[in-house]
Symmetry: C2
Subunit: 259 residues, 2 copies
Amino acid sequence: MTEKISRPLILVSNDDGITAKGVHELVKTLQKIGDVVCVCPDSPQSGMSMALTVNSSLKVQRLEDYEGARMYKVTGTPVDCIKMGVDNLLERKPDIVVSGINHGSNAAINVVYSGTMGAAFEGCAYGIPSVGFSLTSHDEDADFTPCLPVIEELVCRILKNGLPEGVCLNVNMPANVKEFNGLKVTKSCKGRWNDRYVEYRDPANRPFYWLAGEFVNEEPDNKDTDEWCLTHGYVSVVPVMLERTYPELSEFSWIPEKI
Amino acid sequence: MTEKISRPLILVSNDDGITAKGVHELVKTLQKIGDVVCVCPDSPQSGMSMALTVNSSLKVQRLEDYEGARMYKVTGTPVDCIKMGVDNLLERKPDIVVSGINHGSNAAINVVYSGTMGAAFEGCAYGIPSVGFSLTSHDEDADFTPCLPVIEELVCRILKNGLPEGVCLNVNMPANVKEFNGLKVTKSCKGRWNDRYVEYRDPANRPFYWLAGEFVNEEPDNKDTDEWCLTHGYVSVVPVMLERTYPELSEFSWIPEKI
């Protein structure tokens, strides 16, 4: 039995937008643990990384509560949603930022483009323990059922243990698995997108382009990667950092001290 | 005298958009070193990080050549510009990606939000040596003159020495300095934005918000930071990495193997 001493304050966001199934499933689960305030983009923001609106203004609209949670939509990016939540909508700094559940994988190189992880990194920049959850299915009506106990347990453990400064978690879960084989703390797989632009013609015969491509896994047999976990039925938990500086500064002695 | 054996192919982009002074100064300088193809956003994209257009299409328009360089504008983000350049516009993989010159600092935490650095990181993801240049002035007509010899020399040295896999350079230069005191290879300064949203009212009295705030330097006396360099007249060169995985996975033993 959970004693009702002080319920944690949980800020939720995502990048698929306020109408996505994934964020509703997340809110419902997290309401068991704490008081949820959900601040999401009003439109899909997949691939928005840590994009931040600086050259225009934002509108915010409060919606009907969902399962007891306060719900807002913002005309911006996932990062904007976290900033708006922390700076303008919440009465106090939240105890945790939870982003997702994303419809689609954010494993490997996808972590750098992910708006879901953009929101988690932004929480991290505020010094708030933060985590992003993704399911490897783009289906709008994906079955998130197996994810929910994992999310509940991990969020409770993060609240209890905290996270290192500047570090958040990128959690990916394999779709179409009845029961996960387990969880692994692992690292981002090396790989890249083999991109191409598909050319179309508009009614006036002017070209326009849509990005297509396939992910190429450069270490498919490496068991210590998030991609391996996902293809073998495991949940991957990758601790990811906000820090960008490459630590081996001595490798750059060819950069002159004076020009 | 430069022998015309094979001129390097240089892909240029920025986040201030194709009309910005900074990118024109950059193109002019780089044409001395190699063949420049410039692919920039058609609108300002500051703060766009590594945002990538996945849910809509892109248009590309070739403009008049500038100082011998091929110029294109794309209806997308800096990352889109790099992808469009490499995948669709260039005849071969470029020898270097150069982004900027940004109107404004990309030191400290700004590196994570920067569209200028988004383009450089994207070049890096293709395995191309990549560098972003920024001047600490938002003035549309900023004086980039002292930057140009630094850029020319650094780009030549990068072409010669290469960069470690997954690492690019974030170069910031102080504005309003007649002559730089020198260059320092250094690290991102710890600090954060003290944000707030300024509230306005539209003609129908509905609120809208604009982000404001000040950067708080958490280590102002640390000489080994980019911010210190910039406030003391030095050019800061920060090697930055695409890798996100936090290396100390053993700190997460509290994450259960099974739920």
